[in-house]
Amino acid sequence: MIPNRTFLAVGIVLALVIGIAAVFFASGDPDGLDSTALVVQGQKELTQPAKPDAEIDESALPGKFEYSAPFPDYTLEGGTKVTDAALLVVGTLIALILVFALGKGLKAFGRTRSS
């Protein structure tokens, strides 16, 4: 059986490798939700690829709230594939640290309450 620290380290490395690989090898096709939006707006046949110029008509959508994320679509404006990969690494590490910190904090809070 692999020691705990090694197991977790391998898991983190695998996550980072997958994140970096995603920048170079992920498909640029619309996902299932966007494909469905294109289908119901008549811009895509269900089983066929969308035309290159097909776009979701935002004016026909009901949501009016707008939020500008600092790194939309996991990219930096004017950046390169390398900066995109760095963003994926940072995002993966933020998810890791956030869950770890909140988990540890909640466990510590639970101990304080029970003592």
Partner: protein, 212 residues
């Protein structure tokens, strides 16, 4: 499956946020009272893996791509649907706030679909199938497939209520695409379980994932 802000009115997004917050509170209570402290690093690594895998869209034919959602995987490995709600909620917050992947006002709906529905369907689907098949990998793959397509159908109903998709065409399209995307979900879930089972079988045993 990450619904953006433009797909839903703010008022409807607020309703899903309220429902999601109830489940988030239950998930935080699960972490505080039920999760063993030694597993906190494992939960964090699973969150990192889910974040990375969700960024990796694979082509699924029909000019469409899809990625792992991860609700079933997390729930099965950690032995609770609340684990999926905890992990997916935090992953969705990072994705939405920093990367614009999924909206802010609709984040409650995304948490309900991928975390709550994905986690519960994945966990109970897995244990139900496991009691019949006695095969952890087949059960996990099928449960993960269900945990992909059922949240997608839920999203299509939510978006029909929002007036974004017509109900039946939306459900047909979301159902067909996610039936294929679910094959990725099932395959990756089974492979990761296999890796964990061979490296650290104690993790799945303690989560009740391997039949005695």
């Amino acid at each position: 499956m990450h619904i953006p802000d433009s797909f839903m009115p703010i008022t409807q997004g607020a309703v899903y946020w309220i429902i999601a917050l109830i489940f988030i509170a239950l998930a935080l209570r699960w972490v505080k009272n039920e999760l063993s402290e030694e597993k906190v690093p494992l939960v964090a690594v699973l969150a990192a893996g889910v974040f990375a895998l969700q960024a990796f869209n694979l082509p699924v034919t029909m000019g469409t791509s899809g990625h792992l959602v991860g609700g079933a995987l997390v729930a099965i490995v950690l032995g609770s649907p609340f684990a999926a709600i905890f992990v997916l909620s935090l992953v969705l917050i990072v994705q939405g706030v920093l990367f614009g992947d999924g909206g802010i006002t609709v984040m409650g709906a995304n948490i309900i679909n991928m975390g709550v529905i994905g986690g519960f369907v994945g966990y109970y689907g897995y244990h139900g199938l496991l009691s019949v098949t006695r095969n952890i990998y087949a059960s996990a793959a099928c449960a993960a497939w269900l945990a992909c397509i059922i949240p997608a159908l839920a999203a299509s109903v939510e978006l029909a209520l929002a007036g974004t998709f017509p109900l039946v065409p939306g459900m047909i399209s979301m159902g067909i695409y996610h039936a294929v995307i679910g094959l990725i979900e099932g395959g990756i879930t089974a492979v990761v379980l296999g890796l964990i089972s061979s490296a650290r079988p104690d993790i799945l045993e303690s989560a009740g994932g391997i039949p005695a």
